[in-house]
Symmetry: C2
């Protein structure tokens, strides 16, 4: 048995014997205990703070005496006097082992600490980002042993951090000499390590030990909206989340109309590329301002997007994606310089990672959903549906995963809806309709009060009630169906048929009035027959895609459904099933995952092993092409009814009884089928 | 013993037995015979042409019958009918082995064929450039097995050429899809392989089998001139050579004045960076036009330059190079994209390689001289002197190599000389002065006739006689010394003292008149006392640098001297020694190497193994810093005399007897020493 003192680390439980005088940081490193350090043990960064525990520890079989750690040395004392240290804390690089001791590593001293996602699913992200900060002392130049400053920086990183080889762009080279001299040969460098090779690239350099934190952006680049999370690259914390409309909308609402625009207008692809890049620059500026950081602190960006957005972001004409065989220019993941994408607001050396695409219609956003929701690790058969202008659909379990995309259009995002708007303060996001009185009550973003509760008017005074967002329109249509205001075919009944004056005529159809502020000059918020048709088209496409995957898998039911949405909005699972967006399933087996694509982007931003993982996973996914599959059309038509024309929904029926109403009065009907025939 | 037919290749002598039906190209590859192919054996590029020999070959122990090769197949016959084939030639990929055969591989079918350098030294460059062309057939996309076009190109290169991994910039990705379709899934790609890692980068892509050749630029970026060679990357042939003045001259004649400009003028370094990059763009345009190629065919560029030019090219403020300890930002070689240097005339994906620097004052140009002249492989002690505005000096043998640089100023390049000009038609490049009559005769660039030969006037009628270039001024001063027009201290005698009316007074000094066309409105070409002083300063700096290395090596004499010049001009070795530019040595041991730095750049352009080699070699060179060495100043003062004040020149004395004259008449002298004292 060793006579050296025993050191036990908590919470890891790792333990080992170390000679008297061993710094705690050294002991931690030798045992593989996760204890941070930026300054490399010089007692200046204080990232290695630890809490020694004293007394009896029967669990560990240790008694810790008062003298178990060395007395405070000058470096540690100076740090405490100057910067302050929490009571009971010591600097792990300065305090040395003198006797058996139990050392607790607080969460903020752990590099790879786990961060709980804000979204519904409780999976954690282990922090292991591509970019880290390193403080080094660089040897001064010696005329008689001439080497470049970069080579001496490289040597310092090798000797002090075990990093073998570095590269640096001209932007760094042009600043290296003044920064080294300003920092008196002490600098902090941000090094980016690719998961594809072993090179480390210098992204930024600061004189001395920087106070700056470094950040990354996880961007879900959708057809309709661009959503970004700004994450602290040290701990994964989301400092700000923000979104903007995709300005490409002016070239076409959905993907195929944008591909058409590129085909019909020479240079049209370049216009769209420029528009989306400028929007990302604006979003970067806005999110940095919101978080109170400087944009140059953003050193990494991860993109997830569908194939058409992918090509337009990269500056590639998407024309091939508009026609069979839907060939991608490249399907593998990409590592780029942000400046190659004209993303000039963030740091000039910021690195971009774009997740791999799965197929010509199944993009990096679907890969991100797969990374976030991991259907391939599920024991039961799970259907994952990511609702956006294009829906990404995954079906699978540990034995096999299928994927497709389905062109739902932007209705679920509140676009092409008469009172639709993006999810912002003032938008109706939840709604209930009393089945007896047919009266609605609702919540708007910005307040937790229902519209019939006291104080509601005051609470929403500043924002007003401005429209309906994506999750609001889903609830509204489902509630109308449950309240008997809407029949199975999607027809809104008249005031006479439904017994409520809120069903008002509009031409040959009817609308349901949710809120009328027109007397005060505000909007009149209704759900029109056109809105119902838009939602029907969207939900039919979604359901048909899911059914196609189920056919391919040879199943009629799934065990579990995960609903994810582009905005991270919490789509009501019950309402989604009433609408028939998703196949029938026990309601407690339907969960909402928030913005799964955005979460996948965050995972890839915070953990490079996840990048390697998803690059492998996409190769194992079976792609199903909806665009050329005749059964897709059949499924689509049958899914037009609410919830469905032919498929039984037994689980739904067990919790909700849908009124058996029919508002078809013959010639006045506006069923899509008839309409199509009349127009033909 | 194998019963398979024997195939013997000449000139390599490689031999092996192959089954009947084996294509000759396959046999060549299996034996490692250097036989080219771009199309990968499809019978369309015809790079694999071979010549079968028939009859008795006792030397090889083979008898070749008429049927030793297969009959012409359709592919081969079609090629011959359409494009033509030299009599006796076959396509190595189509003709198959039928019996014992002797196959000659003509030089143009060899990839690594050796090319004799144009310059004086006879060393060969083995062609193994970083960039090659590859023709491939790419599989068409399949909707049911979705992969990106890039991934299928990668697979084609792996299967058809054994190339493992490729990368492509966005500029290539944005063109990949239309080019693949235009070429009907056959394309030629230019792939660049770094010697530092195993990645291949797509630089250019053409539909089908391209007729385009690809080129590289070897650029010697000097303080005064920028000289470029355009080389065919297939065979190393120099298609054009061109040069321009370095426009940075307007910011300062020599390196230290440019560093001063950067220090005194905020943004001055950026101005100089921009100026030199624009000049290189202009030079690229000009050299492409001269060679009749399109600039996008230039896919690689190699730079050699001194450290200050190196930093200014890269966009790095050279201020640290102006003060001890003369720290470089980086000393290692660099691989860059040409566009990162704003070199936008050549191909947008062109790759740049910059040789490593040796020390703060000893640059990539010196490394290039070391690569070209290889002092470290010399058995005898060789002094290599590269004459430019800054001289690069190497001294060494197989045991040790020393290097330094010496600030000679631009006089040797014809600058700061009253009648000086760059080496261009009309410039006097050779001169002789009759020691009896003191009359000169000379040659000008553009004619091989001497000025006293019949037809001279007619020959130079279009250019005229416009000035003196660098090699001309060296000969002029040496000839003046040999003719007794100039004394050891560098003083030009009066007409009375020298007995020639060509020595004409100018203020308190005298000039020697070489040519007077002022009557016809032409120039009056003289060598002034100021010119002599400029040459004295330059040659003293050169000699002092060489002596410093000899001190360091502990020798008084060198075995051999190699004189190299920035223009590739042939400096007369005898005149150089009369001037005392170089230490005394037997004249047959003094050779001229032309533009050794430019040759080094060409070697690095044409052979990537040379890049690895020089990166190793520079680490083994001992650098000597002239700027802070007191002995340098002593050597400099002593070297002011022509040829030298104290050092004996016995070898020179054995071939030239210098007149013992002295034109110092006391108060009127203009010796530098006196002058300095007077000004103090």
């Amino acid at each position: 048995m060793s006579t050296d003192p025993l050191v036990v680390f908590t919470p890891s439980g790792k333990r080992g014997n170390f000679p008297v005088g061993t710094p705690i940081l050294t002991a931690a490193r030798q045992l593989g205990v996760d204890l941070d350090s930026v300054c490399g043990g010089r007692g200046i960064c204080a990232k290695c703070q630890i809490t020694p525990s004293y007394g009896e520890f029967p669990k560990h079989g240790v008694t810790v005496s008062d003298g178990a750690l060395s007395d405070w040395n000058k470096v540690e004392q100076r740090y405490k006097d100057k910067r302050g240290l929490t009571e009971g804390r010591r600097l792990g690089c300065q305090a040395t082992v003198q006797g058996d001791v139990v050392i607790d590593v607080p969460p903020e001293s752990q590099v790879h600490r786990q961060v709980v996602r804000k979204a519904a699913t409780a999976r954690d992200i282990t922090m292991d980002p591509a970019t880290h900060l390193y403080f080094v002392e660089v040897q001064e130049p010696d005329m008689h042993e001439p080497t470049g400053d970069l080579e001496r920086l490289e040597r310092a990183l090798r000797e002090q951090w075990g990093i073998d080889h570095i590269t640096a762009d001209l932007t760094i080279l042009s600043r290296l000499q003044p920064v080294l001299r300003k920092g008196k040969w002490q600098v902090t460098v941000a090094l980016h390590k690719s998961h594809k090779d072993s090179a480390h690239k210098v992204l930024e350099i600061w004189p001395g030990l920087t106070e700056d934190r470094i950040y990354g952006l996880a961007i879900d680049l959708g057809s309709t909206t661009i959503a970004a999370h700004l994450c602290d690259l040290r701990n994964g914390e989301v400092k700000a989340s923000s979104g903007v409309m995709n300005p490409q909308i002016r070239f076409g609402e959905d993907l195929m109309s944008r591909v058409s625009y590129a085909m019909m207008n020479p240079g049209g692809d370049k216009e769209m590329t420029n528009a989306v890049r400028m929007a990302i620059n604006g979003l970067t500026e806005a999110i940095a301002t919101e978080a109170g950081i400087r944009p140059f602190q953003i050193l990494e960006t991860v993109f997830v997007c569908n194939p058409v957005m992918h090509h337009l972001l990269l500056g590639i004409d998407p024309v091939e994606l508009g026609q069979a065989p839907f060939a991608l220019t490249t399907s593998e993941s990409l590592e780029l310089n942000a400046r190659d994408l004209d993303l000039t607001v963030m740091n000039e050396n910021a690195q971009v990672y774009i997740l791999p695409c799965i197929a010509g219609h199944v993009g990096a956003d679907c890969a991100a959903v797969a990374l976030s929701e991991e259907p391939g690790k599920s024991e039961d058969l799970v259907l994952v549906v990511d609702v956006g202008t294009n829906a990404e659909i995954l079906l699978g379990n540990t034995s096999r995963v299928l994927a497709c995309s389905s062109p739902t259009g932007p209705a679920f995002e509140g676009a092409q809806i008469s009172s639709g708007q993006r999810a912002a303060p003032g938008a109706i996001e939840r709604i209930e309709i009393n089945p007896e009185t047919k009266e609605p009550r609702f919540q708007v973003i910005g307040s937790d009060l229902w519209s019939d509760e006291d104080g509601f008017s005051a609470a929403i005074a500043t924002t007003g009630i401005t429209g309906i967002c994506g999750s609001g329109i889903i609830e509204a249509v489902a509630e109308m169906r449950m309240a008997g205001l809407l029949d199975e075919s999607g027809l809104i009944g008249s005031a006479e048929q439904t017994g409520t004056a809120r069903n008002i005529p509009e031409g040959r159809t009817h609308s349901y009035l949710i809120h009328d502020a027109s007397a005060e000059g505000g909007p009149r918020i209704t759900v029109t027959q056109g809105d119902i048709r838009a939602i029907q088209l969207a939900k039919s496409a979604l359901y048909a895609g899911a059914r196609l995957l189920m056919d391919e898998m040879g199943v009629d039911r799934v065990d579990r459904v995960v609903l994810a949405g582009a905005f991270g909005a919490h789509i009501s699972t019950k309402h989604a099933m009433v609408l028939g967006m998703i196949p029938d399933a026990p309601l407690d087996k339907v969960s909402s995952a928030g913005n799964a694509a955005g979460t996948g982007a965050r995972i890839a931003l915070c953990n490079i092993a996840a990048r390697s993982e998803i690059e492998q996973v996409v190769h194992q996914i079976t792609k199903v092409e909806t665009a050329i599959e005749p059964r897709f059309q059949e499924h689509f038509v049958a899914a037009s009814a609410i919830p469905h024309k032919t498929d039984p929904f037994p689980d739904l029926a067990s919790i909700v009884t849908l009124p058996t109403v029919s508002f078809n009065t013959g010639g006045d009907s506006d069923r899509p089928g008839r309409k199509r025939r009349r127009r033909a």
